[in-house]
């Protein structure tokens, strides 16, 4: 009896959360899976039929500008660069805030602001700051650094950099808060012992901080990657829907375009299934390599 209870216990703990999550996601997911094999579109909106793998074929082989593979590559760069900076800046600031210095609470509050403020207006503010003639960023570059002004929003590469900068700004406080929480789980005794052994700051970081921060950071990073991969808002707002010349899209922008621009629901559903599988494969590999599902002790 007790043995059976013990086996059931973890399931009981998980059940409420599982009901909420899968209750909400299950039906939409199946619905989309079905749509991705259908011809639902402007002409076949109410009465659509299952047509097989056509939409998937189109995702990979239908000519588009820029092509699926170019955008995929861009999305990868977008994701990797963003998450890397989020984590590096976030962990760095958290470690600084964890020191015994005065005025910590003021810094902590100021640094969390980018997370607290509604994205829409700050993204547009950043767009303004990147303006060629009047933006404060070019002013900084020309007046104080003496460099030539940059046409941020008119050239594809610069525009892409501009969006990434904006998104890094929006995202680092989140990672900072998580790292701050994670650092609390590390007992000072470890550092004291290392001090006695004469370890350098880098050695302490490498051998104590990183491994003990890992269990908390890995889930944040995994989800950070998934969210960034699918984050349409910032790109859309800063580049005003892919400007210049549709060169700053990521994959999800195409889902949006297909579904709500051309009303190709079947195609959009297939494309989102592809995105889903890309992220699934990534997560599986990433978790295996980081052993995220294992415990630390």
């Amino acid at each position: 009896m007790i043995e059976r209870n013990r086996k059931l216990f973890p399931y009981l703990l998980i059940l409420p959360a599982a009901l909420v999550m899968f209750g909400v996601v299950f039906y939409p997911f199946i619905y989309n899976l079905v749509l991705s094999f259908s011809n639902m579109s402007l002409r076949n909106f109410r009465e659509w039929q299952i047509i097989g793998f056509d939409q998937y074929y189109k995702v990979f082989f239908e000519p588009s500008e820029p092509s699926f593979y170019t955008i995929f590559l861009k999305t990868m760069i977008w994701t990797v660069v963003n998450v890397t900076f989020h984590v590096v800046i976030g962990v760095m600031l958290a470690m600084l805030l964890n020191r015994q210095i005065k005025g910590k609470s003021i810094f902590r509050t100021l640094l969390i602001l980018p997370w607290a403020i509604p994205q829409y207006i700050v993204a547009l503010t950043w767009r303004g700051m990147f303006n060629y003639e009047y933006g404060s960023i070019n002013l900084l570059i020309t007046k104080y650094l003496g460099l030539p002004a940059v046409e941020w929003l008119r050239s594809p590469t610069e525009a892409f950099i501009a969006v990434i900068i904006t998104n890094i700004w929006l995202g680092f406080p989140f990672m900072m808060v998580i790292a701050l929480g994670g650092l609390q789980s590390i007992s000072n005794e470890f550092y004291e012992a290392a001090d006695i052994d004469g370890a350098s700051a880098w050695q302490k970081f490498r051998n104590i901080t990183v491994p003990l921060l890992r269990p908390v950071m890995i889930p944040a990073i995994t989800l950070g990657i998934i969210w960034t991969f699918n984050n349409i808002n910032v790109v859309w707002l800063v580049t005003s829907g892919g400007e210049p010349a549709d060169q700053t899209h990521i994959l999800v922008s195409y889902v949006y375009r297909a579904a709500f621009g051309l009303y190709r629901y079947g195609y959009a559903a297939a494309l989102s299934m592809v995105i889903f599988f890309i992220l699934l494969i990534f997560s599986l590999t990433f978790m295996q390599r980081t052993q995220a599902t294992k415990s630390a002790y």
């Binding site: 002409r43 767009r127 303004g128 060169q247 009303y263």
Partner: protein, 409 residues
Amino acid sequence: MKNYTLLISLLITTLLSGCAKDDRLHIRIWHQMQVAERIVMERQLDRYMQEHPDIRIEMLYKETEELRNDFIIAAYARQGPEIVYGPSDMIGLLAMLEVIRPLEQFFDEEYLDKFHETAQVWYEGHLYQLADKLGNHLALVYNKDILDVPPETTDELIEIGKKATKDLTGNGRIDQYGLVWNYTEPFFYVPFLAGFGGWVMDDAQEIPTLDTEANVRALNFIQELRDIHRIVPREADYEIADALFKEGRAAMIINGDWSWGGYMSAGLDIGVAPIPRVSETGLWASPMVSTKGFSINENIDDEKLPLALEIIKFLNEPENQLEVTREVKTFPTRIETYDHPIVTEDPILINSKRQIDVGKPMPIVPELRAIWDSMRPHYQMVLNGRKSAEDAARDMQALAERKIMEMLE
């Protein structure tokens, strides 16, 4: 413990609120009106509800793009508002998706004849929208503190523009521009395309017509305005242009009737004029003219239908249209209002009418969306100097044809 039960039951009632109301005489209107328009319609509906206390009418604002998407989703699930109010360019799409009802059987010909022809929006032989506002069009707006007389031709535009483009502080940066506008967006480019004799699609509204000499010349014209005559800023989007004009740092702006009220309330002394004729061709630069009005949800309850129609008729009464016109300076659609002093004596409305008369009706077919999306990238490549106008015109056409094919798959 008792307290908890009370608290929880209270919480549950709050969470589920909104579903236990009598909605038999409840009409919902989803719309995308900006604040000034919204306030007038709310006031009119309040008056209606005072006369009919048993009726509840509720307005719900959504941004244009969202209005369309949210309405489609809701209607697909057999839900949504009874009335949807928006620009006519969404009508083709909504009709094609069969989410709005044909209206011709509900309004007799005698009644419809009281409206400007453009205000009756037909698609594939059915009436789908009855409009109360005519326009939504671009025109030339000028700051009277800087400019006395607006240009009539593009040559004058360039000449006046050059005079008004100034480096006032002598620091090598231009402090005042002759002309600003959101020129990187195709909708704001189209007037000049028309001025050079072109248009976005053929008269049957089926095939895009972008690979034309007119398009090439118009593309070059915009680029010359910026790079040779230098009367427009190197980089301008809607908000930059708007800010420059509001700060008095631009003599002229090309912007739509929705923006004029804002300029006046920002304290500017403005004049409105038609966008100049293109000197080379002698043709007017023609902005797209559309309407905004009412459509009815396909899923409306039969018992609510008469009431919805009555409300549409009420809001379209001449007095009510004139009230809107007086306050937000949009152009009415009831013909009998056209000789009313509110319309005939206001200089802004007079010039707005001149612009409407030389404008071209905006296509309402869904294909137009594909055309915008095809023009935008290549147009911007021309502006960035990465593509010649000839190549861009050809590529726009090819992309538009392909997108339309994809759209109609």
